[in-house]
């Protein structure tokens, strides 16, 4: 059916027609086809900060000072200016309006870093319900750190990692959490996942998943630590019921928490090996054994397959470490296990990995998959949105295009599946993105694949840096008449004269307004080119 693309006609249509049930929001979002950030202010004069992102409700723009010391928060405002001539719509913006300040108002700047710690500019999580921001500062990495006090050999160490919980409204630091001599993957918030008010922090070095709760009062409360133990009071139980046992047990079990979450200076512990399997490993191994036993009906077959699939690989399973974690809901975690080498190498794709679904309330492993498992892939293909969990109170996060909610994205996935030379390699490649990074996708409607088509190699909802090309990135209408609606061009207006230096672009789209920032940087320490894309 023909529908006009004229904005006035659409508004009129909205008045007289009732949309099909349940499509009101989709209808409303179609207006974004008419309202696009098609104008660009090139190389805008702006403070030399590294701009991180807009919060998912669009209320704040988060940026850090270049020296990684301060957090500077802006409020996006809409451009207002006056103009004396007639027909000012056709005119270019007056020079006074072509400023960063006409789009953003600085709310505050607070120092987060201390003498030895710097802000991790890749790390930021936003708790929308109470407008709290979580930031991280850390000291430098030590690569050849000795594995003491139950630490994993081969994982680097960071002397001090501090998480800061801020009230974004006024920049007041509400709470802090310090991890000493630990390693948490802070790049792209990989080692931390926020779901509603629950926070999962993966300590790679001590192999713990710390579950914390962000209270409305602004405090970080320990809920439990999964790793050595599964239930929150296991440690207490062990200490109290092993009073009759020898003193070795007590010293083994008591020293563990001291290393992990220490709010004071860390005391070097005498390394003491825990003779038992950790709680999570016990659950995992017993799950695998039970699964093999239930799989085979025949007794002799069962023995053979236990021997081949379980005992032969027993040590490999024991040596697996937790790489990454995400919440699937308030009780279930998707945990990725792999080798120590894979956890610290930049390219983890070549290392074998496993996925486990763990219920942290019942302390049960629900499922266990290999990286190249067809079964998990099919689940992922059909129910991708169950992996992309968003917090409850942000409905627009449900509109982020995925191959489970968007036919065009599904087609794209299918076509790359058909193009792939080997299915298992393809599955591996797709599954490498699991577990998802927390809050890594922009909810901007311009990335809605039912509205616009664009080159996903150059730009996408995923928050990541991209190699810059000299061509503007085109956003084309998905529906007829398939016309070019707007272009986003990072870097200087005239294009790049010096082709030798590699340039990296990042794009920050406002979740609601037709407003975006593109930041282009060469690898040298030159100031970045910041362009503002907006609707005039």
């Amino acid at each position: 059916m023909f529908r006009s693309n004229n904005l006035t006609a659409r508004i009129f249509e909205r008045q007289i027609r009732t949309p099909s049930p349940g499509t009101t929001i989709h209808r409303a979002r179609r207006f974004y086809e008419n309202i696009v950030p098609g104008s660009t202010i090139y190389d805008v004069e702006c403070p030399d900060h590294s701009f991180r992102k807009f919060t998912e409700d669009g209320k704040y723009l988060i940026s850090f000072s270049r020296n990684h010391q301060d957090l500077i928060v802006y409020r996006p405002t809409w451009l207002t200016f006056s103009c004396k001539q007639e027909d000012c719509y056709a005119q270019d913006l007056p020079p006074k309006a072509k400023k960063f300040e006409s789009f953003f108002t600085q709310i505050y700047s607070v120092p987060l870093a201390s003498a030895s710690e710097l802000i991790c500019k890749d790390f930021f999580l936003y708790a929308e319900s109470n407008q709290f921001g979580l930031f991280a500062t850390s000291t430098a990495q030590i690569y050849d750190a000795p594995a003491t006090g139950g630490a994993i050999q081969g994982v680097p160490s960071i002397e001090k990692i501090t998480f800061h919980l801020l009230r974004l409204e006024d920049g007041v630091v509400l709470d802090e959490r310090v991890f000493c001599n630990d390693y948490i993957n802070l790049a792209h918030s990989m080692g931390v996942f926020l779901y509603d008010d629950l926070l999962a922090i993966v300590s790679l070095r001590y192999q713990h998943i710390h579950i914390l709760q962000i209270r409305d009062s602004g405090t970080l409360v320990d809920v439990r630590a999964i790793g050595d133990f599964c239930r929150e009071d296991d440690q207490l139980f062990l200490n109290s019921s092993s009073q009759g046992m020898s003193s070795i047990e007590k010293s083994v079990s008591q020293h563990i928490p001291v290393n992990n979450v220490a709010n004071g200076p860390h005391l070097e512990q005498v390394p003491q090996e825990n003779p038992f399997l950790s709680g999570i490993k016990q659950r995992l191994l017993s799950f695998i054994v039970r699964e093999i036993r239930n799989e085979e009906e025949d007794e002799t077959m069962r023995i053979q397959s236990l021997k081949k699939k379980f005992y032969f690989h027993f040590q490999d399973y024991v040596d697996l470490i937790i790489w990454k974690v995400q919440f699937l809901d308030r009780h279930h975690l998707l945990i990725k296990f792999g080798s120590v080498d894979g956890a610290v190498s930049r390219n983890a794709d070549n290392h074998p990995a496993f996925f486990a679904v763990y219920n942290m309330e019942s302390t049960e492993i629900i499922a266990f998959y290999q990286m190249s498992s067809d079964k998990l892939y099919l689940l992922f293909e059909q129910f991708c949105d169950h992996f992309h969990v968003a917090s409850k109170n942000s409905p627009y996060m449900n509109f982020i295009s995925s191959h489970s909610n968007n036919i065009h994205a599904l087609e794209q996935l299918r076509s790359s599946k058909n193009k792939a030379t080997s299915f298992s390699l393809f599955v591996k490649k797709v599954m490498a993105s699991l577990p998802f990074n927390c809050q890594s996708q922009s909810p901007s409607p311009y990335f809605d694949q039912s509205l616009f088509r664009f080159d996903e190699k150059l730009i996408s909802a995923a928050d990541r840096h991209r190699q810059s090309t000299d061509h503007p990135i085109k956003f084309i209408l998905r529906r007829p008449p398939h016309t070019l609606k707007f272009k986003i061009k990072p870097g200087p207006e005239a294009g790049i004269t010096d082709c030798r230096t590699r340039r990296i672009s990042s794009f920050l789209f406002h979740p609601i307004l037709p407003l975006a920032l593109s930041v282009q940087q060469s690898l040298f320490l030159q100031p970045a080119f910041v362009n503002i894309h907006f609707r005039k």
Partner: protein, 167 residues
């Protein structure tokens, strides 16, 4: 690989020429596979014949019911003339297993070990400590004492341990 045995730096026997202990372990493995004891199983870790893992399922009617226990079994180079060493890798509340997982079992002691015993017999003996703990020769006197004085409290504690640490 084989040069290691020439220099004497290797602590495990060469695989190319199986020693008598290796042959014996292989024979016992075949036996175990054809006639496995109930509620337990075992197999070599990787390709090392001398290092095994055993799995014991807590028998019904005991406080260990529902638990799955993993044990390390290490065979000495002069097996079967010396007993294998058995260690629990899963926490267990038991008067014959100490706080680091070492298990005291009559037949596993050097003096009472007999070369006629096999891995199947060892597994059976290990399984029997679930049903019949020996509080008169305890590794942990506290647990043995509780077992003798207040069996129901002992059992509920052991069941709690099973739920927490052996699931």
């Amino acid at each position: 690989m084989n040069s290691g045995s020439l220099t004497g730096g290797r602590s495990w026997p060469s695989r190319t020429s199986l020693t008598s202990s290796g042959k014996r372990i292989q024979k016992e493995m075949a036996e175990l596979n054809t006639d496995p004891p109930a509620d337990c199983s075992a197999g070599p870790k990787g390709d090392n014949l001398y290092h095994w893992v055993a799995t014991l399922f807590g028998p019904q009617g005991t406080p260990y019911d529902g638990g799955i226990y993993f044990l390390d079994i290490t065979f000495p180079a002069n097996y079967p003339f010396k007993p294998p060493k058995v260690v629990f890798k899963t926490r267990i509340y038991h008067c014959n297993v100490d706080s680091t997982g070492n298990v005291s079992l009559d037949i596993l002691e050097e003096n009472s070990w007999s070369p006629a015993l096999t891995i199947s017999k060892v597994l059976l003996a290990l399984r029997s400590i679930f049903t019949n703990p020996n509080p008169y020769k305890p590794q942990v006197p506290g647990i043995a004492h509780l077992y003798l004085v207040d069996k129901s409290k002992h059992d509920s504690l052991a069941a709690e341990w099973t739920q927490r640490f052996a699931k």
